[in-house]
Structures are given as C-alpha cells and as structure tokens.
Symmetry: C2
Subunit: 541 residues, 2 copies
C-alpha cells in the first residue's frame, strides 16, 4: 500500500518541531513568570463532557471515538453471552452442537457445511430472538474462519450471514437517535482546552487554591474541512485565572501578552473591548433584544466595512433609527480615553454601559501607568468575538506587520463550571494561536539560528582502532553537553561529508592514525570551510 | 451533570507535568547530544496505515475515530442527495411537496401531519428504493423538528421512522465486514510511534539523508482494559536509526541508555540478547519450526521459573530430548563473555547462531572498551521480547532498585517500511517507558526540588497606590526572569498568606506605604520563616 497522511494532518520534521518548541518554551516560561501552573488533561473525554458546550456547529465538529476495540465484535460478544445464558437454561443439545462444530479439528469447509445444515435446521424456528442469536453466532464463526465468502458452494450460507448483519444492526423499539450514537461512541477527542479545564475545576474545586491560575499547551482536534492554514489537529496555548473577579487580572493578562510577544520579537497590537459596553450600546440604541445580532454584525466591520455592517444590521431587522444612533461607532478617534469619555456622556443612566466603560478605563489606565504604549493597546469598540460566554473584557491580538487575522484572543466569563453543576467560579482567560504565530515569525524571519538544534560534530569513520578512539572522544564531548556522532560505516569520505552537510552538522572531525599518535584532533567547520588541527585538550575545552 | 474522566485517562497537575517534563527534557537533551533529530507525527492516521501491523490483539486495541462530525447525519445527507437527484429526474411533484412541507411556516404538528399523510400516500410504492429514501427524508425532517417522539397522535409516524432507521443501516448486497467498518471509521489514534515513523519514512525516503536518526516523544492510545499503572493514553519516547546495518548503532544506543539513565540518576541494568542466537539455539535443539513457541516460553523464565518454562515447552510440543539439549540455558554464568564462548562451541557449523554470538560479542567488547561496567550491561540469553519483527540485537532495561518490569526496550529490525512498499530500510530503535521511569524516580525520591516550577514572590495586595507600585516591581522582576505575582484582591493578609503557602510560593513580599517611602522591600521567606527588609536595588539584584 502507498501510505499517506490522514486528511488535515501534518508531520513536523526537525526544524518545525524545534521552532514550535522555541515558541512554546517562551510562552511556557512567561506563563510561569506570571505565576501560572501547568495542567494537562487527557486527549479524550467522555462524550457527554463535550457535547452541548460548543453550539450545534461545534458538536458536529467533535471527533468521536468508536467504543473500544472493535465495536461490532463487542456488540456480538455481548449478545453471545445473552445467547449462552438462554441456551444454558433450556437447550443443552443446541449449545453442544455449536461448541462441537467450532472446536472440532476438521477443515473450514467441513465446519461451514455443518453450520449450513445447522442453520437450515433452525431457520424456521418460531422464536425470533433465538433465530437472531443463532445467526449472530454463525456469523462470528464464519468471520473467525475467514473462508465462506470465497467458496461458491455456500452462497446460501452467505445470504444468511448478510441477514444476520441486518439483525446485528437493528434498532430496538425503545432506542432513539442519541442512544444509538452512544452505543457506538461514548468518548471524543478534546475540542478545545476550556471545557476540559472546566471539567477539571468542577471535579477538583474542593482541593484547589483559588484564585487558580493554570496554563495548558496541548493539541485539540476539530473535524473542520481542511484548508490552507486550517488543520484538524492543532495546538492551543491557554492561560486562565478562575475564582477572582479582580480587574487586576485583566491588567496582568495584558502584560502577559505584551511580554510574551516582546520575547518572541513579534510586534503586536492588543485590541480590547468589554461586553458590557456592547450591552450598553444595545440599550442606548433600544435594541437590547437584538444584542447578538448587533454584535455579530459589528464584529465584521474589518471584513465588510461600514456599508456592509449597516446592510447586515438592516437585514437582521434593526431599525434605521437605531443604526443612526450608533453611527458614531464608525467615527472613533485614535485616542482611547477620549472615546471612553464620549461613551460616558451617551451612557448617562445606562448602568451596564457605564460599568463597561469604567472597567475598560481601569485596565487602560493601569496599563498606561505600567508604561504600556497606547499604540500597542487599543480600545476597539467594534470588537465582539464570537463566543457567547464572554461577559466582561474581551481581547484580540493582531500582528502589526503581517496580515494574519488574530494570533491571540480571550476574555472574561462569569461561570466556568456552571454547566458541570459548580457555581460561582468566574474567570478570565487568554489564548495564543501557535500555528499563526509560527507563520508570522516565519514571514518576519524571527526564528534564531539556535532554534533548530544541530549536531556540533560528525566524526568521520576510518574503521578499526580509529573508530574506537572516535567513540571515546564522542563520549567525552557528550558528557560535556556537546552533541556529537560517528558516521556509522567507514564509507568513502565524500559520502560522510555529504551526510554532514545535508544534516546541517557544524563540524566534520578527522581523527586518523596521525592525530591519535600526536594527541591532536583535526576538524573542518562546514559553514566557514576552515580546517584546523588542535590539541586534544584544546578541542575538549 | 457530574463530570468525570474518561476510563483509563488521567489529569496531570502542576507537579506531575513539571516532573514529567523534567524526565522528557533529559531524554530529549540526550537524544540531541547523540545526533537524533525530532519528529512529530499526527495523533491520528488513516486506519489502513495502522491495521494489520500489530497482530490481531493489537488491531482490536486500536482506538478508531468515527467519520467526521456525525456519521449518521453524513450518511443521511449523502443519501438525500441521491434522492434529490432521482426526484429531479422524474418526480417534480414529489419534491415540491416535500420542500413545501418543510419550509412552510406552519407549526410542527401541522408539518408532522402532512408528512404522515405523505407517507401513507407512498407507503405502498412498488419501488423499494423510493420508499426508503422517502423515509430517510421524513426521518430527517422529524429529527430537525424534534417534536414527534412526544406527540401521542403520531405513533404511526414514529413506527415509520423506526423502520427508516433499519433502512439506513441495512447492508448492501456487496458489502463485507471490513467495508462496513470503514464506512463508519477510516482513521484511528496512533497506537505506537514505530508505525507512524515507518509511514513517514516510506512517504519521504527520497528526501531523507540516511542513516536517518530520529527521536519522537508523543502520546499513544490503546483500548486496553485500564489497570493500576496501565492507562489508555500514555507517552512513548523512541529513538531509531534507519538505513544503517552497522553494529556501531547498537554500541551507541547502549551508550544512549546508560547516559540518559545516569543523568536521571536511575541505576539500571541493560539486558541484551540477539535474535540470531535464539534462532541458533532452535537450530541446535532441532526445533527450528518451533522458534516462536520456544522464544515465547523462554521469555517467561523470570515469571514462571525453569519448571514453568519446561512445562510450557512440553505443552507447545517441544520434545523432552530438545529440552534436555537446551538445559544449559538455565545454568548461565555471570560472565557474559564466558557464556558466549560456551555458545560458540555448541554453534560449530550453526551459521545463524555464530553470527548472533559475534554480533553480541562486538557490542559487548566495544562497550567494555568505552568503560561500560559489565554489571550494567548483561547478556541475558533468555531475553526474547514479544515483537516478531526484531531480527538482531534486542535490549531491555530494568531498574536496579525497584521491582517494575522493564523501563525501556528495543532492538534491531530488518525492514521498517516494507509493509508500505519501500524495501531495504533496516534499522534499530530503543524506547524509554516514561510512566514507569516516573514511578521508579518517585519511589527513589529522585526528582529535584527545582523540577516543580514554583513562583518566587507573591506580593501582598494592600490596594490603592501600593498596588500600582507592586505591579511595577513585579514587572521588573519578570523582566529579569524571576517569577512573581500579585494577590488579586486586597483581602485580609491571612488569606493572602494561605494562598502563598498552599501554592508553594517561596516568598511573600510586603510593599507598604513605609517601604515605598523608604525605597525598600520587606519579604518573608515562607520556607525558612525569615523576614527581612532590603533596599530596592538589593532586592532586584
């Protein structure tokens, strides 16, 4: 067979793994500097933990895992147990016959013939369940013996087997659609890191110290249609604080974003808004009942422009009058504090709106105090983000120099764990988009040379005693933390040279008879092309 | 709902994640020192890539993933398409009626009634396929409307829907068992790292530089019955060299094992054997045709003792005469080279046996030359290892001070990629058992304090201006790579203290009015219990 990758998946070779690790290490380091502790959850969860948390579309994109091993077989053996029980009760002869047929040492053909007779014998049994179980049993025997499909003589038996297939899959009278699905699958691959985190907190909330700050860097899986830059397996890197409503968390997470991207040398702008401001705007325009329609349309401003947003608002049955009241949204100044001032005037008596403004003002002011440049932290009143569960601050990070959509995002939520029956655990979280950050850094050429680990020394293999000496020296180098390897065969030096070059090894070492005698080492730097001979002591530093 | 973990899975909390990373980092560092390059493959592969590679038992333990999203629904819409095509051809009225029924604004009850009538109308259609498709369509409508199951009036319709279920699941005449499984699942979770590696090499062999040395540290999944210490998700850490038959690879991998475990401070013994020696023994005892029976029984010596092995050999129809010839196996000396000498005498004219002895002798001698202690590298003639594909050297690593079974293993194989149609890629690989190494290290108390990352400073929160000053100082600390966080609320100091203690934070910092005025910082080391006040400069080091 010609092998291929599963649709929407990727292999990561040495350079990619190293570069991804370079990013991950910087993120992890920052998470820890900020007092977040690592958590890892299993790749799969009970299906019931995941379904119903991501909306209808999300549920459809969850990868479900077939029940252990081979569900068809499992199914059969369960029924077989039932069957044996039945037979034990009142049909001793029957089971004896089956056992004998299966365990006998005769040829498959003979077995099959016996079974065929056996079926004929019971085919007209009045007890439907018995007939069904017999066929299941027969089917299993046939499958084990892997013979019947090929033998022309047993067409009739084959027919019977096909019927038994139908019987295996028939639907009991009290089954509904959901039940059926859970019969074949009761677990699924992680779709994001938030729901497993919520499941963890709900299960362990008695043992945790709140506020609980965790970070999590793990792959997630989505059955999306694969596209350029969109994969079915990708990493998420999340940091969340739960159990604290303090706005200092918002301030801290802005710092976390800025410091992490600064360490990665990726220039970014953080866009910030507050769900309460959006609610305030809806109230101000008299469209409180249309809040979601309003935010969904507004969120598209970047893509479809003012005219597009207005058109969509109208389509969503928001009146021209309301839209006129909101016209100032499209004319925001560059000065965040000035915009907030303008909002304050409009929000007189609008409690939720004012609260949103104050929250945002606090985060902005504190950040300014800490020396954040307002170029890098902007108030974007049209930012809404799709996820319904955000209730306060919302963030989105964009790379300044590469058009790439958001490379990070997050926000505050009121209840992480309510869906699992544990109330009053509010929190805030942010996420880093590893794949997109990778692409931005690649485009801006930001990966340092050292991000890709390369072997320092390849020892040429001359065979015999020289090889043993080379191995000794290699051992010493490795002991000092210097990577080194021996070419495994005493092949032509050109071949060894090509290997070193293709693998990006930095130096080719020659340890020949002469060198061993003199206690020296000769090595050639393959980048500079220089060759020199030094004493063993000098070489080992 | 009360949440729970899926069977056989685990959450890893901060300490566990950190300790696992401690092990992984040491392994990774050593892999790179030895010239291995990282590879990561996707979590799931095409089912056909995995099945048939692990034997019947293995195939059963592969976790299969249901085809994207909801396979039942996908199935339906495919058939629906077919249905529409059919209708377009020759039944305009029919489709119009359906469309009208679904899209009409009337209540669900009315829709359902229309559909019920509609079914009655077509129920006795002579064309079986049409009847089936109608029912599929009806089913979909009902499902979308989520109404019928509850309404008593539509019992008859419900019956119809149940029949349609059977029709959805019926098996076309030309379907066989395998085909059926692939209809619902065509991909599966990685079962080990070797087969995906082979798939990668087979796909990319034209581009790779041989010998190709890769390491891979990723989770694998097996639908094993969960037990103490056995999980359904666990990490494998593999290093393989392919494209080289040089025995220097064996020597190097022994070094890799010894250096890695030495860095981890885990005392180990490497057990070594060679499949060719086992073949030689079978030839010597005249049981070449019973090689597998022989090795399987011999491999159990540790568990069942000599008597057990002899009993099993007899059960596997190996004659007493042959067993007598092999009796010396149970009387091996502690001196590996002496045992090899003894074998050489017995293997006169036994080509395969002699080759095995010479190979093992080479690896032992070279290792001795490199200073390996023979206490740590033993020739264990009864070591067989289960995997059939090993053809030369085989290894197994055991912890000296903890009874734990093997914590590593591997061997040489003739053909990594033949199963994927690419020939002549021999290789050798070893594996580290992360979970068991973890348990050994825990038992021997080998994790250093630093393996668990802990926050260095918690700043007490006094509110107001002090908070802003604290944030500034925290920023400076983080900039210097020192982890620090602010307690998010100006809560009672006792509460803040408890938080620091429970989270294992090393120091609690007080930056009050007094300190700010004096340019000092007061902090208490929570381990030592000492409190001191130092100047800001001194504090920032």
């Amino acid at each position: 067979m010609k092998p291929s990758l599963a649709k929407g998946t990727r292999d990561f070779t040495a350079q990619e793994v190293s570069r991804r690790k370079y990013i991950i290490n910087i993120l992890q380091n920052n998470f820890e500097l900020f007092g977040f502790q690592p958590l890892e959850t299993p790749s799969f969860e009970n299906l019931s933990t995941l379904t119903g948390k991501y909306g209808e579309e999300g549920d459809r994109l969850i990868f479900k895992i077939l029940n252990s091993g081979d569900f068809l077989k499992d199914n059969i053996s369960k029924k077989k147990k039932e069957y044996y029980k039945k037979l034990e009760d009142n049909r001793f002869e029957f089971i004896s016959f089956c056992e004998l047929t299966v365990s006998s040492e005769r040829s498959y053909e003979k077995k099959a013939k016996s079974i065929a007779k056996f079926i004929d014998h019971f085919h007209y049994s009045t007890n439907k369940i018995d007939r069904k179980l017999i066929k299941l049993f027969v089917y299993e025997v046939c499958l084990e013996n892997k013979v019947l499909i090929k033998t022309k003589d047993y067409e009739k038996l084959l027919e019977e087997i096909k019927i038994s297939f139908q019987l295996i899959f028939d639907i009991p009278a009290d089954t509904n659609f959901q039940k059926l699905t859970s019969q074949i699958s009761d677990k699924a691959l992680r779709y994001d890191l938030t729901v497993p985190f919520a499941r963890f907190v709900a299960m362990n909330h008695g043992k945790l110290t709140f506020p609980f700050k965790r970070f999590q860097i793990q792959p997630v899986w989505r059955a999306d249609r694969p596209q350029k830059g969109r994969y079915r397996e990708f990493y998420q890197c999340d940091a969340d604080v739960v159990g604290s409503e303090s706005l200092l968390q918002e301030v801290d997470l802005v710092q976390l974003y800025l410091k992490s991207f600064s360490d990665l040398k990726v220039p970014v702008t953080i866009h910030m808004n507050n769900r309460k401001i959006l609610s305030g705007l809806a109230e101000y325009a008299g469209i409180t009942n249309k809040l979601i329609d309003f935010t969904v349309a507004l969120d598209k401003l970047d893509k479809i422009g003012k005219d597009g947003v207005v058109k969509e608002l109208l389509e969503r049955e928001i009146s021209q009058e309301s839209i006129d009241k909101l016209d100032f949204l499209f004319e925001q100044s560059d000065d965040a504090l000035e915009n907030l001032l303008q909002l304050k005037e409009k929000f007189v008596g609008n409690e939720i709106g004012l609260q949103g403004v104050e929250e945002l003002e606090f985060v902005l002011t504190q950040s300014l105090n800490l020396g954040v440049d307002m170029q890098n932290l902007v108030f974007n009143i049209t930012l809404a983000r799709g996820l319904d569960y955000y209730t306060g601050a919302i963030f989105e990070v964009k790379a300044d120099e590469v058009a790439m959509g958001s490379i990070g995002g997050g926000g505050r939520y009121d209840n992480l764990t309510e869906v699992f029956g544990v109330k009053n655990i509010p929190g805030i979280g942010i996420s880093f988009g590893l794949d997109r950050i990778y692409l931005v850094m690649e485009e801006l050429n930001l990966f340092p040379e050292e991000a890709t680990s390369k072997t320092e020394y390849l020892f040429a293999n001359f065979g015999g005693e020289e090889t043993t000496e080379a191995l000794r020296l290699i051992m010493q180098l490795r002991g000092k933390g210097v990577s080194a390897e021996l070419y495994p065969e005493s092949a032509k030096i050109n071949k060894q040279f090509t290997y070193a070059e293709k693998k990006g090894i930095k130096n080719l070492v020659f340890l020949g008879e002469e060198e061993i005698k003199n206690g020296t080492v000769t090595f050639k730097n393959l980048e500079a092309g220089e060759q020199k001979t030094v004493s063993l002591e000098e070489f080992l530093g």
